[in-house]
Amino acid sequence: MTSTTRPAGSTGPEHAAPTPSDDNGLLGLGTFFRRGTASADKRQLFLTGGREGDVFYRDRWSHDKVVRSTHGVNCTGSCSWKVYVKDGIITWEAQQTDYPGTGPDMPDYEPRGCPRGAAFSWYTYSPTRVRYPYARSVLLRLWREAKRAHPDPVDAWESIVEDPEKAHAYKSQRGKGGLVRVSWDTANEIAAAAHVYTIKRYGPDRLAGFSVIPAMSQVSYGAGTRFYSLLGGAILSFYDWYADLPMASPQVFGDQTDVPESGDWYNSSYLMMWGSNVPVTRTPDAHFMTEVRYKGTKVVTVSPDYADNTKFADEWMAIHPGTDGALGLAMGHVILRDFHVAAGTPYFLDYMKKYTDAPYLVALAEQRLPDGTLTHVPGKFVTAEDLPEFAAEENAAFRTVVMDRSGAPRVPNGSLGHRFGESGLGKWNLEAGDIDPVMSLLEGSYEPVELSLPRFDTVPAGTDDEDANHVGSSSLVRRGVPARRVGELLVTTVYDLMLAQYGVERAPLPGEWPRDETDTEAVGTPAWAETITGIPAAQITRVAREFAQNADDSHGRSMIIMGAGVNHYFHADTIYRTMIALVMMCGCQGRNGGGWAHYVGQEKVRPITGFQQYAFAFDWQRPTRHMTTASYWYLATDQWRYDGLPADALASPLASDRMRGRTTADTLIEANKRGWMPTYPTFDRNSLTITEDAAAAGMEVPAYVVDQLQKGELHYACEDPDDPENFPRVVTNWRTNLIGSSAKGAEYFHKHLLGARDAIRAAECEPERRPRDMVWRDEAATGKVDLFTTLDFRMTSTTLHSDLVLPAATWYEKHDISTTDMHPFIHSFNPAIAPPWESRTDFEIFRTLAGIVSDMAREHLGTRHDLLAAPLNHDTPDAMGMPHGATRPLAETPMVPGVTMPKLITIERDYTAIRDKFDTIGPLSEKLGMPVKGIVLHPEQEIAELAGMNGVARNGSCAGRPLVDTDVKAAEMILRLSGTSNGHLATQGFHTLEKRTGTRMADLAAENEGRRITYADTEQQPQSVITSPEWSGSETGGRRYSAFVQNVERDKPWHTLTGRMHFFLDHDWMSDLGENLPTFKPPLDMHRLFGDAKIGSTTTGHESAGVEVGVRYLTPHNKWSIHSEYQDNLYMLSLSRGGPNIWMSPADAAKIGVKDNEWVESYNRNGVVVARAVVSHRMPEGTVFMHHATERTVDVPRTETSGTRGGIHNALTRVLMKPTHLVGGYAQHAYGFNYVGPTGNQRDEVTVIRRRSQEVQY
């Protein structure tokens, strides 16, 4: 503390102080007249004084150096910044403006950065900075006692965690203060001992590392995941967990997320911002949106509130939250009706025919309805297997079929069946050859067939509740398609199914069709959508027509920027599919300026291949334990015990019995057992022990495991998450804020994972709602985790609940690299100052830990064999394990590892060599090559170059291997081993791909074949990446990146069943949920499903307050938080309202009698929050916002409802499993890390809100 001057009230401007300076009044009065009396020389006098008076500001604008860095937060902005340093102190930051240009006819990428980034340096010296290692005092005391009794630290750790009293003593202290400073040595010793003990006693898959969005700081992320990969720990995903992963993307495109860079917005000539508040969430690039308007691009926003971006819109479609799927269907209806059927727009039809599954044949299945009538429903894709003349082809069940204009079914190139196997070489492409598929069987002779299609907009049976917000049951609509016989099968095309689904009547076909424009009952029409969305039918029609007309005029330059406002719903995949269908039917995908543009936590590790080698230690062993985080926490935090969501409640009326009588939790267990999804911890036995048991039994490990499972001697851990054998034991957080931000169902984390105090309000499930396939223990487990560690540079709810808090370097204190899909550049981080106090980089922390663990392993672990159960992977032949996505009951399915159950892989782990491996590049990269998205890159030359650049290990178990023992060397490895940053690998990859596709591709990278982006290059200037087969777009010739340009222009198939973009999905579970085709599903009815309040309902139940009102509870991103994690920045708080807020409409405020800035409390079954109200008419009635990352660390009082500290924004949400997210093992429905998996959706919640006592207690 250096200052003794306090800005006390006596000199504040609110007091008209007589003389604020040290002058007295008389002298001041003298100057009052100075210039008047000295008129002769007043100018000169004036000037002299003035020039000297300038000096202060000139001085302040001085600095010793300016250092390039960026921010590793998960905003995905990836902005290059100038960090100013004076006297060894970081003073402020400003954006770099030296991005490579974009060409003469569009704006450049300068500057890039937002106010949140500009405020970041506040953290460097802020009072919330974590400057030293800390430990929980109770644990530290136990540790010191234990060390006296057990000199070996691993034994010491055992003596604590295996003693229930001791374990409870420190776990129950989590979140209750009592952090005390410890030395790095002590902190490291505790952490390493916990790791070694857990591996030894429970197995390495009881360790978990949680870090997010690697693209934003790839080395910092990778250091930790490399450490855990080498140990065998679970690496928790983030994209699905955040609900940012749009499951529609793998479903439709067979790709995780591939989207245009922001500069490509400027190529658009019709731009919709749909649930994406670009100025707030994509601040650095918003200018492309504002500027493209000046080219005459029309801008339309779709949002429930008058959002920041609405200011820029030509039109605002004010939609009821979560009903976007209805708008998407209705727009599709207009486009199909007017442009496809009525006008026959050639551009659209040609595009659909070539690039989508529209012309592919689907068999129609007969089904008996409950009332006994027989009906037809869409079945499975017709495949070569169904055609006698093609049935003998390799992978015939994965070669899909079209109807040629000649009337014969044909098998075009490019399907999944061509992607793998000898016979597909040169044929995995979109070339039509002599095949001319018909889009509709209406072209030619046909048989009209009436189908039953599910609809989900109906009022549940058995309720007389007509409340529009209280919907979500299902019924059937009957619509006809033209069909034809192919052999035994009655078939139609996907296009015909689409027209039926969208209610577009052509020739006389049976069924119920829209009566006219005003038919509000007909699913798919604008009039119908108006009743659901609140958007005028005329506006829907007009915008749809404009969107399509523009696409026709511009050849596909209509774009939809879509965001979390539509993507965070439980049924987001259905919403997205209706939106993506629009860009598909208008020929916009793969076109610069067009297509879907999903910006929700999306990221792009552009140097993906090298990154994967480094971060997951694929250079040493394969695979690693990639885990779906939503299911991980769902089980680990016992949210499954409160859920009990009947799978039936989500099902189509046409569903089979598969979901009957089961909960969604049961579907998770099934998906895990089938190998569709990863599941760690995997078994109720140590994975190191299983291999030894197998050896003892004299069996191969996979056979042994199958045998044990069949005998019931071995079980999946997910079947009994409350068995102490199955607990996650060690969890390490870095670059994240789990407990303060992303923890959906935060209160369940407190109780079950951490053993801390909670405010859960829900009861556990009654027996009839309990999962059928899981063990129910009467006593739920609490405090499952033994060691909860966080690396951070500031205090968060996560550090407050941690046992160890390790001081991490900030983004201005380390070397690293960053990329994003918002722009095509690679940025470097560089230290403006050395990590201050005792902070260390993530890299150094994990590297050090690796060393200590290796040392302890000599005594306790040595070399062991680890059984790793891996899911069936996307982009591999695994995806052909289950023809037609057809399941048989699990009990009747033989256990075949890698086909009907997880792959069972044994990995040898020398635990004494973890550090040596951490420090060097292993041999597998060159020995086995580097697989990426279905091709393999071979880096022999690059490994040799890295040995030269980085040096080689001189001794130790990895002597001779190239070094990656510093962060810069790790960055060089990532850059050198990736096509986007190494032209040699890019061209090599394209040549490999060409063999499979038979089309020309390698020229895309030829201009850069000799280019190698080095770390030093990135320090000088942002580096433009190289077009590479790792991604689907092209930057060739300075072009803006747009997804799937390679597919559209080079006839490269999508990674799907047909090789085309899919409207139709035929996996069994998709059928059961009625999601074969794009459809509308409203937000979950939380009242019906979970007994929460009805929206709009008012009660006067609570003793402390008058009226409460039920509202929809949304958690959009906050303008004043640094993305999803940091809301404690004093600058940001000073520019907003300085604490937690809930935004609400004047109407809702009036209902509960609350005024602007008064305290309110909001609760539902999951928890309770307290905040100050912001009342604005830009909010719609019935909906409140509590912004994302509203943490509990700043100005959060205790609640009246629970008596505990108010919760975070996610205290009111909870993880829910959607079975279609769990689908795997089949074509594009196959697992990839952060590619596929249950999303931790959070937009469907409702909550009750009320004005609370204004006297708050902290």
Partner: protein
């Protein structure tokens, strides 16, 4: 003719995304010091809204700027020197801290220091940076951000109050836009004229208005005199401080911090030449609606050879004249007439101008199914836009809707005209003609508004170090009205009563012992310490280094 060069700024509000990056980078660079906790040289207001400080535009209340007297001459609205003298120890027009906001921090260190077995999860509570006491936060530098007004708060928006037509603040009719503000660096600055100490001045070479930190005596008449409330009082140093237009950067040819970091790319910096002899006249026109034209008339066309000769004769360096010709500000003000001044009715002749924002059409149009994209509709659709023309007119043209309408029509026409080019159709010259432009001009304007890169947005001539302060020999602009028989504070009106200035004026305020010097010594540390934590109270957040 007294030709002068003025560094001026245009902000295109149609592009402003309201992100406040400008505010943060400015704050970090200049005002994160004690005494200035509440100060934002650059702030961004959501309109409708109250602004910062609250209701500063209500000059009936705050008495800033000038008013025109019945005799045709202007005087400070806050009164002449006699009133200033009479109120020098108690200025009724002075905003109180609450009118800005009471700055605060949090006891962040509780997060780390909370003792074991705390009953609840530790939390950092807000504390006043003024008193150190715990507080409930009830106003901030940007309290009404994104409110789009709100029925509780915007009712006090002085602009809404002025409007004849009642604006209904309801969901279906919601509108809002953002207004970033810095010091206007006026040609006729009322702050300079208000200063009893002669500490405020307008730099001769580029017209930047500054406070001489050595001369300032902290009377704060500038604070009340400025109608934009862009002069602030440093309650620690006892001096006035204000936006310096980042002159240490401009002198090197770098744009201001707020401009360079403007991620919306909406700011333009450039030279405008003007005739200082026309300033008084321009500020004094009778009809407020004529102030815009009068100010434009005071500007000199840098492409006019006569102006160029006169400028060289006046000692304006050759490259400055060239810079004036390339000035994007001049083009937006003069060539395209899309930029307008903020509150010309204050008669200070402000030099930060604004392009007014387009806005979405209202729902009535959405319901009719008309295609608002069609240029015939676009050009007539201004009346259907959400932001009422009248609201913008009250901001930019003293209530005259015509110049605002012209600017918006030109923006709209540009969009229509460019759409054809965008889609590969032949452009329609009649669209440009409908707004009095040629197609080429429209395209040029498009490139300036949409594409202009760094060097085109900021055309900044560097200072001429080789001639030192030679330009200082030219008449430095104090207040334009500060001339014989002028009405400025430093005019001769009370000269007869004058005393010779005290020697203490010179001796006492220079050197390292002065407040300015003291600040410099502590520069680096203080810049991190002040906002980072409230200094001083043990156990309570501090940025100890």
């Amino acid at each position: 003719m007294r030709i002068m060069a003025q560094m001026a700024m245009v902000m295109n509000l149609d592009k402003c995304i309201g992100c406040h990056t400008c505010s943060v980078t400015c704050k970090q660079a200049w005002t994160n010091r004690s005494g200035l906790e509440y100060v934002w040289f650059n702030n961004v207001e959501t309109r409708p809204g109250l602004g910062y400080p609250r209701t500063y535009e209500d000059q009936d209340r705050w008495k800033g700027g000038w008013i025109r007297q019945p005799n045709g001459r202007i005087r400070l609205r806050g009164g002449g020197r006699l009133r200033k003298l009479a109120t020098i120890f108690y200025n009724p027009d002075m905003p109180k801290i609450a009118d800005y906001y009471e700055p605060w921090t949090y006891d962040y260190d509780m997060l780390l220091t909370a003792p074991a077995d705390s009953p609840h999860v530790p939390v950092a509570r807000p504390r006043s940076l003024i008193t150190g006491e715990e507080m409930k936060i009830s106003w901030s530098a940007n309290w009404d951000d994104d409110l789009a007004g709100s029925q509780e708060i915007a009712v006090n928006d002085p602009i809404l109050a002025k409007m004849n037509e009642k604006v209904r603040l309801e969901y279906e009719k919601t509108f809002m836009f953002y207004l970033p503000r810095i010091c206007e660096h006026c040609l006729n600055p009322s702050c300079v004229a208000s200063c009893p100490s002669g500490a405020m001045y307008k730099r001769v070479e580029d017209g930047i208005v500054l406070v001489d930190q050595d001369q300032c005596r902290g009377w704060r008449m500038c604070v009340s005199g400025c109608p934009y409330k862009k002069v602030y009082f440093n309650h620690r140093s006892g001096k006035a401080e204000k936006c310096t237009l980042c002159y240490p950067r401009l002198e090197e040819g770098l744009p201001t911090v707020c401009s360079e970091t403007c991620v919306g790319r909406l700011r333009y910096l450039g030279i405008v030449l003007y005739d200082a002899d026309r300033v008084t006249e321009a500020a004094s026109v009778e009809d407020e609606h004529d102030l815009l034209a009068a100010q434009r008339n005071a500007f000199l066309d840098p492409h006019d050879p006569a102006v160029q000769v006169a400028a060289e004769a006046a000692g304006i360096p050759h490259d400055w004249i060239q810079a004036a010709q390339r000035s994007p500000v001049w083009r937006l003000i003069h060539d395209y007439e899309v930029a307008l001044p903020l509150h010309p009715e204050y008669r200070t002749l402000p030099m930060v101008w604004y392009v007014p924002p387009l806005s979405p059409i209202v729902d009535e149009v959405a319901r009719t199914g008309n295609d608002a994209e069609d240029h015939r509709v676009l050009l007539t659709a201004l009346s259907t836009m959400r932001i009422p023309l009248e609201y913008m007119a009250e901001l930019f043209t003293a209530g005259d809707p015509r110049p605002v309408e012209l600017a918006l029509r030109r923006l709209a026409a540009m969009r229509s005209y460019m759409r054809d080019i965008n889609l590969g159709n032949p452009p329609q010259e009649e669209i440009a003609a409908a707004v009095g432009m040629t197609g080429q001009e429209v395209e040029d304007m498009y490139r300036l508004l949409a594409i202009a890169d760094y060097d085109e947005r900021y055309v900044i001539p560097t200072t001429h170090g080789e001639i030192g302060r030679a330009m200082a020999a030219v008449d430095p602009m104090g207040c334009s009205l500060d001339e014989p028989d002028g009405v400025g504070m430093n005019g001769p009106g009370l000269a007869a009563a004058g005393h010779a200035h005290s020697e203490a004026d010179h001796g006492g305020s220079h050197g390292s012992g002065s407040p300015g010097g003291a600040q410099r010594v502590r520069l680096t540390l203080s810049r991190r310490e002040d906002l980072d934590g409230f200094p001083g109270t043990p156990g309570f957040a501090g940025g100890a280094l």
